[in-house]
């Protein structure tokens, strides 16, 4: 019976980690070009509500996922126009995007509260996906596999390809990249859009896969944790994967504790755990890199104007 518990722990762990991984990977790409978009939480909420609304109205989860990616991307474009084209302060614009995402998703979602849809199902046939222990590998939905493939893809893209090299260069020294003739703003737009699409999918993971329903502020601050994960990863996709799964583990503590029959710990304390862990991890990261800060893109968060 313990093996059954182990399998279920793995399944919850993967489910809790996937939205973090998706959102953080998108943000990592945006930050690699030097853009700090603090609106991840807002974009996730936009994706979550759009995904649910479309899946509910059309009955198609696939269309729901597409809508979620587009909604996240659309939200990110609002950020891009302000922060990139108008050179507004990136911190303030990102915050605005999060506040906007909370408001817009609540407004749009008001009509969907209490409705349910079928959960996003596993990719592989039941023989594999419902196998007592093989389901640890084959029992997941499309977004889980997509997120893992994207980690590999982004990692190769950044390290091995010329567009990846250019993308890193823009984040490293925007003035030089511009002087050489690379379209700094356009590249940043593309990276922000990619980040928005992945944040939208990460948000949709909540409303389509984890709990197939809509509730206000469904993502409960996971967007902010995704931002912290990017710092934890030192802007490397491989470490991001590790970080996302570590945080997924922390986040499932509440469930695990219940499963293990621990009742002396107040549920509120367990609910605090991911946020306290984030603070602790950020602190440890800083302790670990007292000498220099070569890992962060040098232009992160700085506005650029080409004149």
């Amino acid at each position: 019976m313990t093996s059954a518990i182990l399998v279920s722990i793995v399944m919850t762990l993967v489910a809790a980690s996937t939205p973090l991984l998706l959102a953080a990977l998108g943000e990592l790409v945006a930050e690699k070009t030097g853009v700090l978009n603090l609106g991840v939480e807002g974009m996730m909420l936009c994706g979550a509500v759009a995904g649910f609304a479309v899946a509910f109205s059309t009955g198609s989860t696939g269309l729901g996922l597409l809508a979620a990616a587009l909604a996240g991307m659309a939200a990110s474009m609002v950020f891009a126009v302000l922060a990139l084209s108008l050179a507004a302060n990136q911190v303030a614009t990102g915050l605005a995007l999060t506040i906007f995402g909370i408001g817009a998703s609540s407004l749009i979602g008001a009509g969907f509260v209490g409705r349910t849809i079928p959960r996003l199902g596993p990719v592989f046939p039941p023989a594999l996906s419902e196998h007592p222990w093989l389901r640890m590998i084959f029992g997941h939905d499309i977004l889980v596999y997509l997120s893992l493939a994207l980690v590999l893809g982004v990692s190769l893209f950044l390290r091995r390809t010329r567009p990846g090299l250019i993308l890193r260069a823009v984040g490293e020294n925007d003035a030089s990249a511009h002087a050489i003739g690379y379209p700094v703003i356009a590249i940043r737009y593309a990276a922000v859009a990619f980040g928005g699409a992945l944040a939208g999918l990460g948000g949709a993971y909540f409303s389509l896969a984890l709990t197939p329903m809509w509730a206000e502020r469904l993502t409960a601050g996971r967007g902010w944790i995704a931002l912290a994960l990017v710092v934890f990863s030192a802007w490397k996709p491989g470490r991001l994967l590790l970080g996302a799964y570590l945080f997924g583990a922390v986040m499932t503590l509440e469930l695990q504790a219940k499963a293990a029959g621990i009742s002396w710990l107040a549920p509120e304390v367990l609910a605090m755990a991911p946020y306290l862990a984030t603070v602790a991890v950020l602190t440890m990261m800083s302790l670990g890199r007292r000498s220099g800060r070569l890992d962060a893109p040098a232009c992160l968060g700085k506005p650029f104007s080409a004149s």
């Binding site: 010329r162 090299l165 250019i166 890193r168 260069a169 490293e172 020294n173 003035a175 030089s176 990249a177 002087a179 050489i180 003739g181 690379y182 000498s291 220099g292 800060r293 070569l294 040098a298």
Partner: protein
Amino acid sequence: MNQPREQEMPPRLALAHISKSFPGVKANEDISLSVRPGEIHALLGENGAGKSTLVKIIYGVQQADEGTIAWNGTPVSIPSPKAARKLGIGMVFQHFSLFDAMTVIENIALGLDEAVDRETLKREVAGVLQSYSLPLDPEREVHTLSVGERQRIEIVRCLLQKPKLLIMDEPTSVLTPQEVERLFATLRQIASEGCAILYISHKLHEIKALCDSATILRAGRVVATCDPKAETTKRMAELMIGAELRKIEHGTQTQAGAARLAVNGLSLPGDPPFGTDLREVSFEARAGEILGIAGVAGNGQAELLTALSGERLAERPEAVRLDGKAVGREDAGARRALGLACVPEERNGHAAVPDFSLADNGILTARHRLPLAPHGLISGGAVRRFADGVIKLFDVRTTGNAATARSLSGGNLQKFIMGREIGQAPAVLVVAQPTWGVDAGAAAAIRQQLVDLAAKGSAVVVISQDLDELLELADRLCVINEGRLSAPRPVASLGIDEIGLMMGGVHGAADGVEAAHA
């Protein structure tokens, strides 16, 4: 002109009546010039004469408001640097377009317009490095390289594209005299292969040594075109500056007095990530003297200045003494109160706050010695009066004390900052690049102020990359190289070759000996 061959062969590049304005300034006005294949053509002018704007137009970074560009006789438009490179124009900027955290080969790859696979690129780079005998390691990260090596990356980047016109923007301002010689040899080789070179500089002896012809700019207009080998340096200087050259009056040579600033064994780690460590720096600046500190950019000048100003603290109080008092552990405010004033190289953002008015910028460093904010309460009247005084005395061209620092030209802001510090009658003034970007008239005025300040009994330390300026101003000169400071020598006893060798680190012959023993 009469030779039929030249008529057959149109100029590589011909500019006709180019004009370009920015808010408040006409950067270029009716500029025409032409460059032949194989010619090294100088574009000569002071800082702010419009050279940089003009080459940016040629390289497609900016667009001219009026005028035409002809390439090999055909009119062209150059909307982007990419288009320029496509024509065969390569450019080495004064400020390199490099990525510190990436390797040399990655930087070169980024400079190419087409994707080249890594192995091919490596081979091509090795070929260029060999045929021009340029020493450079393609796998090193850029932040570990010297300025001369960084420049070589840019040159290799251009040469890989087989350019037909190479633009060099103030290429020697950051090089040692020996590196300059090496660069000139490279450029002559490139020109001999038929490439035209447009060489931008304000250094007359270089242009005489290197260039076949020169176009002289002043205030955005062409004032003359000449053969620099035939023209005298003095005549070119007058054309460039537009006035008779003025000489600094040193007054009666006073005997140097007691040490006002004494630095003893000052060591500090460099600023992360790419700073230079200061190693056992010791020197004295005496009352009545100007001490010059020469050196190639990035050898610890910035670190030395912040260590003296108190922005970074020394490990021991005795490492820095001001009039005998140990101040190594005192912060910037305390040192200023005691009479130590500093002017860092970077004006906007370091010496001044770009978004503050001139009046508010006065408060930044003058509040310790002047009653601008008694008991922490800012006295608006006193602040404005102080700023007005500086503006008047130092002839700062501005709309008034409410103008933001950002709105001033580099030279005018420098005049304001120098005035702000000199106006406090400091015991010691440490100044980096006192006349960088300032027009010749104002530069002469600033140098005169420094001489006068020393004459009144203050000690003045000038940190500069401009050897001519140091030789003109300083009584004694030392050189900073890789964070080490050489012993000061009286300027009268030094030859320029000797200083060049010191700048290149050869003076540290001890290093070589140690290495040999190891």
